[in-house]
Subunit: 108 residues, 2 copies
């Protein structure tokens, strides 16, 4: 993280998205929200083999990257996927891999 700012902005952004996806718990959260089973923190953490506070931290991490949104409903918080940002992330990752991976001649 310390030297991240020495790299191109686009690489910083893409790597930050990938980092957010770089933990199975966070993927499990995204999948669970996608299945619409529930949007409530407590239900999510009951589903995962982690404590409620740890899940809460992973939720914060996903929120930080705007991949999910939380809407307060009384005592509860309804979380849901941010489709726009997920699509944007998907596009950026795909573009990067396409650009990287497309060369005709190989040097090996």
């Amino acid at each position: 993280m310390a030297k991240n700012n020495l790299f191109d902005t686009d690489l910083q952004q893409i790597s930050a998205f990938c980092k957010a996806l770089g933990h199975p718990a966070r993927l499990a959260i995204l999948r669970f929200l996608g299945e619409q089973k529930s949007c409530i923190t407590d239900d999510i953490s009951n589903e995962l083999p982690l404590s409620r506070t740890t899940v809460s931290q992973h939720l914060t991490e996903l929120k930080k990257m705007k991949l999910i949104q939380g809407e307060i409903d009384g005592v509860k918080v309804n979380y849901c996927l941010n489709m726009n940002e997920l699509a944007n992330m998907n596009k950026l990752i795909n573009e990067f891999l396409k650009k990287t991976n497309c060369c005709e001649e190989s040097c090996c």
Copy 2:
């Protein structure tokens, strides 16, 4: 890492790939190799704002996930992209995001 094995195998695999992409230096390495400018460690590290040994560690990380391959050529090592594994990774990430992101009704 400690509790990773408590999650589904597919989530473990996808998150491991994303983790490998979760650092700008590793993305820069992949991009550099994709541009075919050179495959030699020393040239790669000269290109990046990091020491040779640190770059070497990032190369090891990418090798661990089979995203790149190294071929010994005398004293030097020629690195190149592993197109097959990159494509496989791309497919897995896309499938995951598509499956996650496709639901009609939103709960928020």
